[in-house]
Structure formats: structure tokens, C-alpha cells
Symmetry: C2
Subunit: 233 residues, 2 copies
């Protein structure tokens, strides 16, 4: 076994059957090869691995939440397969030490770049899928995500603040919140939007400021929700 193969065996307990399917290198080497390097890179494996990961995580979330509506399942899945999560998992596994990068990427810290780490993890999944089938891929995914799947957040925690505020109010028979654009400042293309959020029968008005009107509304909603939750106790 070469260094990368030993590492994979130690961390994910997987040993490739076929270490030299392609002329230039084995599947694992291909999975670790960023497009900045010469040779067969991991883009095709990433395409495949992304779909494998999506299915295995969809299935896990579906089974973990037998009563959750589809929207909650989608949000749970997104929280697990988004680039930030995949990059964190890849870093925990130490993928960065085995990446094969072009010299430019190497110099500029490519082995720590989130997109490169996330793509490499998906590519490894794709490589294992090709080598050992869906069962083998499922095993390593469940191993990588074990902690995350155990600690699956309550689905409603993943809803955005505006949605949660609305649901909270509706659950108490209260009216919808109102959002108002209070101010736009800054030059074109760098504008900042300030939005207020008010709720029937509540004296407090909250404000949010951000680069888009929608983001500003979410901020104002999050603050209003915090006030309401605090006042109810």
C-alpha cells in the first residue's frame, strides 16, 4: 500500500481492490488529484461521489426522521452535504496531507481550501463507490458522518429566522410580522439595506442591516424572535 492507501485504511477502514485501474494511477490517487495538478484529476469522481453522498445522506435522514415533512428533510440533508461541512470532515480526517495539487495551489494553501477539501472527500466517496459498490461507499459515509448523524439538529433549527418567527406567531394565533425598508445607504453595487420588523401588540421594533433586503429582513426577524422567546419565559 502506498501512503494514501495506508491512511485511508487507518481512518476509514477501506482498502481498494483496484489500485491501478487507470494507466496513470489508482482510483484513490485520482480522487486526491486536484485539477491544478497534471494527470487525471478528480472532477469526474467528484461528480459521481456527490450523487452517492446525496443518496446515502438522504436515506439516513429519511430514516432518522420518519415523521418530518420533505422541507425539513431537505434542510437536514443540505446542512450535512454543504461544502462547509464536507470541508470540516475532510480536515478532521486529514485529507489535506494527501492532496495532489499543482504548484500554484500548493503555494497558496490549497490543501486547506474548503472547496478543494470538500471536493476531494466527495471524490474519495466516488472512488470507493466504483471500487466496492454502493455498500462499501455507504459504510465509509456512515463512518465519516457518524457523529453528525448522531447529533442531527432538530429540523426547525434549520429553518430561516423569518420562517421560524412566522411559525412561532402562528402557533400562538398572532398576526404576521411586518417588514419595512427603512433606509438604503451606500453607492450602487455596495448598497446597505436597513429593514425594521414589527409584530402586532408588541411595542418592540427590531432592525436588521445587510447587503440585501432579504438578508436584512432575516436579521431583523432573528432579533425579534430572540426578544419574543426571552419574554415568554
Amino acid at each position: 500500500m502506498d501512503k494514501a492507501e495506508s491512511w485511508l485504511y487507518k481512518t476509514l477502514h477501506y482498502r481498494f481492490e483496484d489500485a491501478g485501474l487507470f494507466e496513470d494511477a489508482g482510483l484513490l490517487n485520482q480522487a486526491l488529484t486536484h485539477r491544478s495538478a497534471t494527470g487525471r484529476n478528480n472532477e469526474r469522481l467528484e461528480f459521481l461521489g456527490d450523487a452517492v453522498l446525496d443518496l446515502v445522506i438522504s436515506d439516513a435522514v429519511y430514516r432518522a426522521r420518519p415523521e418530518a415533512p420533505e422541507g425539513d428533510l431537505s434542510r437536514l440533508r443540505s446542512s450535512l452535504v454543504k461544502e462547509k461541512t464536507l470541508a470540516a470532515l475532510a480536515a478532521e480526517l486529514g485529507v489535506g496531507d494527501y492532496l495532489i495539487l499543482g504548484s500554484g495551489e500548493k503555494k497558496t494553501g490549497g490543501h486547506r481550501r474548503e472547496s478543494i477539501l470538500a471536493d476531494a472527500l466527495e471524490s474519495i466517496v466516488g472512488a470507493v463507490f466504483l471500487d466496492g459498490g454502493i455498500e462499501a461507499a455507504t459504510e465509509i459515509i456512515e463512518r465519516v458522518f457518524a457523529q453528525r448523524l448522531d447529533d442531527l439538529p432538530a429540523a426547525d433549527q434549520l429553518r430561516d429566522p423569518k420562517t421560524r418567527l412566522q411559525e412561532w406567531l402562528q402557533g400562538r394565533g398572532r398576526g404576521l410580522p411586518e417588514y419595512e425598508l427603512v433606509n438604503i445607504s451606500g453607492q450602487a453595487h455596495r448598497q446597505m439595506f436597513e429593514v425594521s420588523c414589527s409584530v402586532d401588540e408588541t411595542a418592540s421594533v427590531t432592525h436588521g442591516t445587510s447587503t440585501t433586503r432579504r438578508k436584512a429582513e432575516q436579521k431583523a426577524a432573528a432579533e425579534m424572535l430572540a426578544i419574543l422567546l426571552e419574554n415568554q419565559t
Copy 2:
């Protein structure tokens, strides 16, 4: 077997093991139940089936095009799993006759609506996956998509006209095409954009008009490409 089960067996050669896993109905009935109807609907199965379909088609495309870059694989997959394709396949299979819809949807032709047909097909895939595992789901997907997979278009046919025009020119060592906004007409929110496309050393200039600048450019590019291809023969 009830009517829907006989139909599925006849068209897709699949027989559900578990026809009554849920209290209210079997998996197939759930897969055919639109959210407008009462009872357990197909939204959760669609979530799962969408991921199953994505993987099986990704795998098929990956194997069918061993040399294609990732971008081409993505475009090929999209062309197969997009709503329009799924709705057409569902209609060919006769899914519409077995849909369980609310009375409102029934009256307004819901059994022919593309989104409802496409979602039901994905839900059937999800139901077969739960019932018979990935092998059974793969079998019915390959059966449904057999013709489409046999007739897989050349990947470059799926690139947009601007990309194809640029590639055609670059392949012949010629300069990039130039796009110019010629005219904007119509009232705000209903504007029409007219764009011209010109190519170095070519006398012809083509024009495209559409609701967005980007679409107008694509039209102008498509026309330019047609002229160039015609003139080369």
C-alpha cells in the same frame, strides 16, 4: 394486486413486497398520492426517489462517457432528470391514470401537469428503493430510461450556443465573438433586449431579441453558429 400494482407490474415489471407497510395504504399508493389529496402524500418519497434517480443516472452517464469532462456529465444528467423529461416519461408510462389527486387538482387537469407527473415518477422510484433496495430501483430506472440512455446526445449538443460558438471559433484559432446591446424597448418589467453578435473577419452580423440580455445573446450566438456551420461546408 390492486389496479396500480397491476399497472406497475405490467409496465415496469416490479411487484412490491410490502403493499401495506403504512396504515393508510401501501408504498405504491403513497407514491401516487399528490399533496392535494388527503392521506399520506408522496413528498417524502419524492425526496428519496430524486436522490436515487440522480445517482443511478449519474452512474449511467459516467460509464457511458468514459472520457467526458465533468461539465459534460452534469449537462447530460440534467437533460435526463429535468422535470420536462421526467414528465414525458411518466406520461409515456401512463402514470397519470393512477394519480391520487385532491378534487381541485382533478378538475384543473392535475393528472397532466408536468410537475405532478415528474414528482410521481420520482416517488415511485423512492418507493421501489424502500421496498426492494438500490438494485430494484436501478432496474426500473434503467427500464424507464432505456431509450433515452441509448440515444444519449453528444455532450457538446447540450452546451449553450454562446459556449459552442466560442469553442468553434477557438478550435479554428479565431478571435472571440463580440456582443453588443443594440436596443432596449418596452416598458419597465416588460423590456425586450436586442443584441448583435459579430465575429472577426466575418461580414455577417446576427441579432437576437429576448426578455433578458443573456437570452438575446444566446439567440444571436445560435444564429451566428448556424451561418458559420453552413458556410464551412
